[in-house]
């Protein structure tokens, strides 16, 4: 800890010369600093300079403009924020669009970015809308900053998006009696979707043996099979989660998570056996969620936590302020999850799932200075986020209004 503190002083001094407007350096003091890396500092501080965390610990330390809060946590990470929803972001010519990049379809002028940022989500995984079986490459981006994708990128091509269930086949037509359009060759059933995803991986394997059978995007699929790339696939219901697990095991896919896995609680054995990670959708009062009307029991997060299954929570870009990610943490606690586990499920756990935990997800020296200032205990509905810091800049400041 002494080392950390001395580093703080050196860096803080070095950066003070270049300090400008709201970019710091900052020292944030709080009754409790939740690092999400396993430590909670009572009466702690976080020191920030040049957009990075330069010190964190108990007691004083650090130099710069002072900020105060009851609690401080890392900025939240949402793998299921669904920031891209526009229909023209869907590639219509093929069901397997592995080489497409959703980065090219990001609309940074959409108000939902600000919505996410103001509710404490500082990093999202931008995924293609689930109208293709394999929708393309996802990008991890910050929710604020300049309106160009390059400056907001945490890491490009961090995951490949897939989708099980009925959603990719919705709107597709069977060939009988209708004119030939390209919709016709798309799957129209749940089993057709499964077949398409398996065929894609088999074809990619065959393409590696025989260059004549290779196709565009096959190299991306092979990177998934080689364990270089994460596969994140939507699967709400038990049958789709099973399918995802069987695909993972059949092809030996090392790094994979199921997104919106509402019914993950129903067959935990399979999850444990396969090493599958889980992203949970937002809770509903009657337990019924999503396009599949899946049954999402409130104890799901607690159950996954007890079983040691890596899991994250997500907000699905809710327009309602009381349904966003910060409140999902609270609802998971209502289902029996501890505060520490709820915090991990919206910060470090999702960051790890897509391999960006060297940049974001916890309050540790060297990581991006993305952090939240709370008026009380995180995730309680009686608490509020009174400040959001993104890359060392205080981009949301509600301290005045809360006093």
């Amino acid at each position: 800890m002494r080392n950390v503190l001395s580093t703080v002083c050196v860096l803080a001094l070095a950066s003070s010369a270049t300090a400008q407007d709201d970019a710091g350096p900052w020292v944030i003091r709080a009754d409790r600093v939740y690092t999400a890396a396993g430590e909670v500092f009572e009466g702690g501080f976080v020191a920030v300079a040049n957009g990075k965390i330069v010190g964190v610990g108990p007691g004083g330390g650090g130099a710069g403009d002072e900020l105060e809060a009851v609690c401080v946590t890392p900025g939240m990470v949402d793998l299921g924020a669904r920031v891209v929803t526009h229909p023209d972001a869907v590639e219509q010519s093929t069901e397997v669009a592995a080489s497409m990049r959703v980065a090219h379809a990001l609309d940074l002028f959409d108000p939902r970015w600000k919505r996410e940022l103001e509710s404490g989500v500082t990093t999202v995984l931008a995924t293609p809308p689930d109208s293709n079986v394999i929708g393309g490459l996802c990008i991890a981006v910050k929710t604020g900053g300049l309106t160009d994708v390059a400056s907001r990128t945490v890491r490009a091509d961090v995951a490949l998006r897939g989708s099980f269930g009925t959603q990719p086949s919705q709107g597709n037509q069977s060939s009988s009696g209708t004119p030939q359009t390209f919709y016709v060759r798309r799957p129209t059933t749940r089993m057709g979707v499964e077949w398409t995803i398996r065929k894609a991986f088999y074809d990619a394997l065959a393409g590696a043996q025989d260059p004549e059978r290779d196709f565009e995007g096959a190299d991306v699929l092979r990177r998934v099979l080689d364990g270089e790339l994460v596969l994140g696939a939507q699967a709400w219901s038990t049958q789709d989660i099973r399918t995802a697990i069987y695909v993972k095991e059949e092809f030996g896919i090392e790094r994979m998570f199921v997104d919106a896995a509402a019914e993950a609680w129903k067959e935990p054995d399979l999850l444990v056996r396969s090493g599958m990670a889980v992203v949970l959708p937002p809770l509903s009062f009657d337990g019924r969620v999503g396009p599949e009307n899946a049954f999402f029991s409130w104890h799901s997060a607690r159950e996954l936590d007890e079983l040691g299954v890596p899991f994250a929570l997500s907000g699905h870009g809710a327009a309602d302020p009381a349904a966003r990610l910060a409140y999902q943490g609270g609802l998971a606690m209502r289902g029996g999850l501890s505060l520490e586990a709820a915090l991990a499920a919206v910060t470090l756990a999702p960051a790890r799932m897509i391999g960006i935990d060297d940049r974001v997800g916890s309050l540790e020296v060297g990581k991006d200075a993305d952090l939240l200032l709370w008026s009380g205990t995180p995730f309680q509905p009686t608490s509020r986020i009174i400040g959001v810091m993104l890359d060392g800049r205080l981009v949301v400041d509600r301290r005045e209004a809360s006093e």
């Binding site: 919505r115 509903s284 337990g287 029991s297 309602d320 302020p321 509905p381 009686t382």
Partner: protein, 461 residues
């Protein structure tokens, strides 16, 4: 004749006085590690003694006398809180909206479904009193009532019946704003015309009013059915004292009650512009002092004129109003309760159509957004109780009040707290450990097997 009348009154009195929560005596002792009274602060390690459905005594356990034979509910790890009060809802009915524009003669008593999930969920969330009114799509709706969310029949649910009349300043489906305003004013003009005709008929000695009374089965000799002068604040019809009240058509009676200031109005406003119309109609017809506005979240913009009018309001379950700036595309969020708080308007929070955000959550969320904790708690207990005219019966834990108590596993506003027990008028109506439906929803226990969690099923495989 006289005998008959007396026995009728006696029978009526029995019905009115008998506690309608059936079968149990309403005697109970509640123990709690902490009692939040909403009256005189908090009591540590307290007891609440309920006799005949009412709170007989409340105080610290060591200094409060308790009957030796009453059953005991509670424990030192539980927190007692008054049952939540929902000032206005239109759920729990078959269909909440009537197609007739002016339907004040209808009674939602005929539409309430006692076994609907809405009432079941209300109990689960600790709501013990609800004001049920017709839906918002109306000009003048039917008569509402105050219920407790338990009982197999409407009669068992009744707390106050009839209570309240729904009016809407927002266009009923199929109407424009102008036709809505016209229809509202016409409803009262029609009443006036009807009453004037009645007086004229009586002067002409047509005997029409008496025949009407006979036809509707009303005895014009009874005090409430005798003729008396009209007492409207805004307007009156001269000579109404010569018309027996029993002869006023049933269809017109509720509106007349409203104009005479004997009835409560729940006036819905779907946009800030509707507030003007609602206040004007209420003022012009003399029932502003008995009006509660039921507001859409956008109506915070009319807070100033609402404050001037001095009426209470029931807020929408969306407490944050979101507006999109057409020029910049930015979303502007306004926390609605704070606006009314600043203006000194008395407001009740509501969970209106969303059991996911029941009253405990609404109060917690409002506290998080900056409302004082006590004000937020009042807005789901004391204030709605006053709006329902039950300020001396529910919303507080105090001797003499109804024995409506919720026992939480922790602080009522903590996200991890659960409603463990609900007591309505001294009857223990809910115990979470026996709630099969919540065990399914929250623990994954299949209600059809009611054995084991998914963990138990796992070990069987």
């Amino acid at each position: 004749m006289n005998m008959k009348k007396h026995s009728l009154i006696a029978a009526l009195a029995t019905i009115l006085l008998a506690p309608s929560v059936p079968a149990q005596s309403g005697n109970l002792v509640i123990e709690a590690g902490r009692i939040i009274t909403q009256a005189d602060g908090e009591i540590a390690d307290g007891v609440i003694v309920i006799e005949n459905g009412r709170i007989a005594a409340i105080g610290p356990a060591d200094s409060t006398e308790r009957p030796w034979d009453a059953p005991v509910v509670g424990g030192e790890d539980l927190v007692a809180f008054p049952g939540f009060v929902e000032a206005h809802t239109f759920r729990g009915m078959d269909r909440p909206n009537e197609s007739i524009d002016v339907a004040a003669f209808l009674d939602i008593r005929d539409s309430i479904d006692p076994v609907s999930f809405f009432f079941e969920n209300s109990v689960r969330n600790g709501i013990t009193t609800l004001g049920v009114q017709q839906g918002n799509s109306c000009v003048v709706g039917g008569q509402g009532m105050v219920v407790r969310p338990v009982g197999m029949t409407v009669e068992q649910m009744m707390v106050r019946q009839p209570f309240g009349l729904k009016l809407s300043a927002a266009p009923k489906s199929g109407k424009s704003r102008t036709t809505q305003a016209q229809a509202l004013r016409k409803a009262f003009a029609d009443l006036r015309e009807y009453l004037e005709t009645l007086v004229q008929d009586e002067r002409d000695e047509s005997g029409k009013a008496r025949r009407e009374a006979l036809f509707q089965g009303r005895d014009v000799d009874e005090e409430e059915n005798q003729g008396r002068a009209m007492t409207g604040l805004a307007w009156t019809v001269d000579g109404l004292d010569i018309v027996p009240r029993g002869g006023v058509d049933q269809k017109e009676r509720p509106l007349l009650q409203l104009v005479e200031g004997r009835w409560d109005a729940f006036f819905y406003c779907g946009a800030p512009m509707d507030v003007h119309l609602a206040l004007e109609v209420a003022r012009d017809n003399g029932f502003l002092h008995r009006t509660t506005l039921v507001l859409d979240d956008s109506c915070w913009k009319a807070a100033e004129i609402i404050a001037e009018a001095g009426v209470s309001v029931v807020l929408d379950n969306d407490m944050i109003h979101i507006e999109r700036d057409p020029r910049t595309g930015d979303e502007i969020e306004t926390f609605v309760p704070a606006v009314f708080q600043e203006r000194g308007v008395r407001f009740a929070l509501s969970s209106s159509n969303d059991t996911n955000r029941s009253l405990w959550y609404q109060a917690a969320f409002a506290t998080g957004q900056g409302l004082d904790r006590r004000d937020a708690l009042d807005a789901v207990t004391v204030v709605p109780a006053e709006i329902l005219g039950l300020g001396d019966r529910v919303g507080r834990l105090e001797a003499g009040y109804d024995g409506n108590v919720v026992l939480f596993s922790g602080d009522p506003l903590d996200v991890s707290s659960w409603v463990e027990h609900v007591i309505i008028e001294g009857v223990h109506v809910y115990d979470r450990s026996e709630d099969v439906r919540i065990q399914h929803l929250h623990e994954g226990v299949d209600p059809r097997k009611s054995r084991g969690t998914s963990a138990a099923l796992r070990s069987e495989r």
